[in-house]
Symmetry: C2
Subunit: 208 residues, 2 copies
DNA sequence: GGCGTAAACCTAACACTGTTCGGTAAAGGG
DNA sequence: CCCTTTACCGAACAGTGTTAGGTTTACGCC
């Protein structure tokens, strides 16, 4: 099967197939051979479109991050950060299996820089010193990434008997898995709320 | 080379070598063959001591988490959480290359459960409803894990010219790498402080 | 319209990974 | 002194990302 009349492959098609595979089979479930098979093609053909697997994953990451909303700073820096962090987490929560890619790969892609610039600029404009603005951006990202990692609620086994007597305070821990998504979402909201509340107090101290 | 007079391998020795390799060469730098070579042995020999590589990594993770301090709850839940989160982050910061292991692997090892039980119990004893206690534990973990991931400050290239004109608010971004560890540490402290401040306010609302 | 180049796929292979099987020789107990 | 167990080894399997080189077709140009 040499050159086909109409190309079987292009970057968007490869990304779409890769994302589907990652969502359903997890990150280790995506191999270049399996991905190629899904696209009716052999593995080496992919390398005419993406030079490495990492480049593909990076592009996938950027595509997903493109939807992150940094437009909320019009109604104040608190709402701005809140909107940003929420949509950031939301974007990651849709594709949880992809989160390790965000965590390890470099984050200096153009879109990410543009958003970082927006956030940083808005915070400085609101009266935060540049260094503090940097740290706030970093902190919010910590929260989002940690929450997306969601290893907490998933870390408990289903078998309740293991804990019942040994860890008295965790006797309901087996329930965590049922409500894992719910707990994750609420915990993130709690953390974000508390974080912003504390920042407001700090900001008042600076402005005064 | 059959059975030696004195065994070349045991679990602590394997762990120590693995940790050294991970610290210096990164997580992908640790292969069973390379690890065996470092120990003067061939790869299959390792499998008499650890059944899989994951088991080894899990054991390594547990070893590192053993130093996490949950003894601070004697002087109140705020100090308790602060001490816990700080020592948690500290433990991870010493071996940053190992962080992905914590993020993906299951967290239900005995030591981790014991610490989770301590934290949860102390929060409930301080008047937090169990569900809130769970969420606070989760939130703190988000923060620690996200901070340990430290992908933020590392995400900027060294070359300043790229940003100078295009992203005006990030014109100092190239400096981030120099101070990456410092920024990470301070950002974490800022986030933890703001988070706890907000929680105190929330707790006052509940107790009232 | 024919021709040369470039595109888009292919097969085969390399170097590597975690892991298993079966062998071997020495250590340690009865 | 024998016998079992221990602790190593070599060889191999199935899988990975990736590269080299080949083949046929499509497309731009004279």
């Amino acid at each position: 099967m040499p050159r086909p009349r109409v190309p079987l492959l292009d970057r968007p098609r490869i990304r779409a197939a890769a994302l589907t595979m990652i969502d359903s089979a997890g990150l280790p479930g995506l191999s270049m051979r399996a991905l190629a098979a899904e696209l009716g093609v052999r593995a080496p053909s992919l390398y005419s479109h993406y030079q490495t697997k990492d480049e593909l994953l990076g592009d996938l990451a950027e595509e997903i991050m493109a939807g992150v909303d940094v437009s909320g700073f019009g109604s104040g820096w608190v709402d701005g950060v809140r909107t940003w962090a929420r949509s950031y987490r939301g974007a990651l929560a849709v594709h949880p299996n992809l989160v390790p890619v965000f965590a390890s790969g470099p984050a200096d892609r153009p879109g990410a820089l543009e958003r970082a610039d927006t956030v940083h600029g808005a915070l400085v404009a609101a009266g935060w010193p540049p260094r503090q603005a940097t740290m706030i951006g970093a902190s919010a990202k910590y929260l989002v990434l940690g929450a997306a990692m969601h290893s907490f609620s998933r870390g408990f086994e289903d078998d309740a008997r293991v804990y019942a007597d040994r860890y008295p305070h965790l006797s309901q821990a087996h329930r965590l898995r049922e409500h894992a998504d719910e707990i994750d979402a609420e915990s993130f909201e709690l953390a974000l709320d508390a974080f912003l509340r504390g920042l407001v107090a700090l900001h008042a101290g600076i402005s005064a």
